[in-house]
Amino acid sequence: MAETAKPKKTVSPGVLALRKVVEDVYADARVAKQEGKPVGWSSSKFPCELYEAFGLNVVYPENQAAGIAANRDGEVMCQAAEDLGFDNDICGYARISLAYAAGKRAAKKLDPETLEYVIDPNSGKPLKDENGNVVIDPETGKPKKDPKTLAPYTELVDINELWAMPDGEEKEKRLAAIKPYRQMQMPMPDFVLCCNNICNCMTKWYENIARMHNIPLVMVDIPYNNTVEVDDAYVAYIRGQFDDAIKQLEKISGRKFDEKKFEDACAHANRTAKAWLKVCDYLQYKPAPYSGFDLFNHMADVVTARGRREAAEAFELLATEMEEHIKSGTTTTPFPEQFRVMFEGIPCWPKLPALFKPLKANGVNVTAVVYAPAFGFVYNNLDEMVRAYCKAPNSVCIEQGVDWREGICRDNKVDGVLVHYNRSCKPWSGYMAEMQRRFTKDLGVPTAGFDGDQADPRNFNAAQYETRVQGLVEAMQENKRLKEEGKA
């Protein structure tokens, strides 16, 4: 039957290249595991340059958890962690990762008798006729479902139990039922790399994984920066830890530290950072050549592959594409830009469509995010590298945090700020109330906060979010009007 197909979204070569880089990181790790080589799990802002010097394969649980959440399996995995005894107040990324580390997997539900998939009748898209109209079922009066789009229910399985099954058809079918996307197929760790600059929950999270698997933990402790400048004593303390981490990595890899490889990784990381920051800065143009939400997607590359040449090249390609958009005044944002906002915090990955819908409906483009450029850091020597790793969103004082955000709001010309009070991230959300007050006082723009979560969909309410977005839009409209009339 012919369907009126939606025009297919074109994906640019730069975006395709970025997707490939991340795919390759996961694929390389799977191959390494099959070949019996050690695979590491790393926190997102661990100095990747260190392990790149040993040619080790490393994957990133934070990126994995975001992907699992975006694939709508965050809830089942968070619940699995809670069933293991982890509190539901702990970060959603940590809960997903800990459940995964314990062997829990989201799988397509199988009938235990027939070993056929059990289809969820509520899944799938409406069936359309040749004219593109939705076909109504005369019996129920409701739209018929397109059988090709129906999906099985999701069930939680334990990979350790599956591996322990006797070889045969059932074992094969059960293993094949595990969701096929890359984040649900990530190899288990042989060592973990933890740097607590991104958050302090990370320390206990990684200690738990190391204990579960009885594997080495390489820890880099970054002290919280109470002042804007990084103290020299901090630099000495962290450099000492780098030396220790190198010794541990020599043991893990069975190789000596390779100075040349380290220098190459530093060069790639700097090149990636420069191109990434360039892409971030292009949001300053009016209209912005793309939506800031795209930056969140591209962050996968900055997190998982910033020390790789391919990531640098892909970002340089993306930057070139953005320059073309700026020259021709075009944009990849799928609606006309009426308002520009800063989106504060990590998106609610399980609820991206609900997050995006009211923004699109009101012409609100996200033209500033603080999380993304925070991953772009440029340095010229080892001390500067250490200082760069000291500056992560959750490891700096509020004055630095306000300064970063207000700078980006001014440069990127925002009309308002939308703040995600992320139930997963207490350190980040904790000082947001004061930041919101400062944004309005210093920038003269309205702000709106909403409750949500980066990975656990149970903490987000679409109706509450819509009201807050609509309120923000109405306040931005009034602000603009008052400014035009010279009353504000």
């Binding site: 919101q436 409750d451 109706a463 009201t467 807050r468 009034e478 602000n479």
Partner: protein
């Protein structure tokens, strides 16, 4: 010829309707104590039709607001309850700069400049400090919500009740009752608990005179008084406090009509 506009506020616990003539004169109002997802909107419309003697088709413009605004099909457009409360409060109190609305399941503090809402704060995902908090407490205390203000005014002793969580506060109230504490003192403590929580939210936006309180909870003079103590500002209320959102919607409807 007169321009007739209607504002309907489909809230979480009540549905309210106001009909305005020429954006100035209230010619009809109606309220039912059930809101979004119930027969409330239908009933409130039936009531307003009876009150005004006008059918919905005879209205020049209908604007919906509140939690259930998008499901009221007869409305020509929708606006958030934030802007509607701001506009309604400005109509009643032209000197207003801060609006505090305590509704059935949320709390809003609005910053008003020249009648326009330029910033706001809302509560997080928690019922503490909302109308629901009072409903729960009234049930535990076996009194009517409408009697809380009167009973609280007889208090002679200050009792502290948690403002962190409705469930915790409920168990605190039960334990106070078990200890034989006077109900009037407990109620007074509850009023202060709510106002303490709301004041914290208000300070995030900044409190400037005049402060106007809207929404159903503003009918409780005990909460209003406690809020005045917490904020150190006089808090103004209106006899039609529950209708302020609907009034704002009717005013915006008039504005849209004139623009057309």
């Amino acid at each position: 010829m007169a321009i007739i506009t209607m504002g309907i506020d489909v809230g979480s616990t009540a549905s309210k309707c106001i009909v305005l003539k020429d954006g100035k004169e209230i010619i009809g109002k109606a309220l039912t104590d059930v809101g979004a997802g119930t027969s409330g909107p239908e009933r409130v419309v039936r009531s307003i039709v009876e009150t005004t003697g006008m059918q919905l088709e005879e209205m020049d413009y209908i604007l919906a607001t509140g939690y259930g605004r998008n499901s009221f099909e007869q409305a020509q457009s929708q606006m958030s309850e934030l802007s509607c409360h701001a506009r309604g409060a400005y109509f009643l109190f032209p000197e207003v700069h801060t609006v505090i609305d305590i509704g059935g399941q949320d709390v809003k503090v609005l910053q008003i400049e020249n009648g326009a809402m330029i910033n706001f704060q809302m509560n997080d995902k928690c019922a503490a400090g909302t109308g629901r908090f009072l409903d729960v407490m009234a049930r535990v205390l076996e009194v009517k919500v409408s009697d809380l203000a009167m009973l609280g005014s007889h208090s002679t002793k200050k009792i502290g009740i948690s403002s962190t969580c409705t469930v915790f506060a409920e168990s605190e109230v039960i334990s106070q009752l078990a200890q034989g504490t006077d109900k009037c003192d407990i109620i007074n403590g509850i009023h202060h608990s709510i106002s303490h929580r709301v004041a914290g939210l208000a300070h995030r936006v900044g409190v400037r005179d005049q402060v106007v309180m809207t929404g159903g909870v503003a009918q409780n003079s005990g909460v209003v008084q406690a809020l005045e103590e917490e904020l150190g500002h006089k808090v103004y209320t209106s006899p039609i406090t529950q209708y302020v959102g609907a009034l704002g919607a009717a005013l915006f409807a008039y504005q849209k009509c004139v623009k057309k």
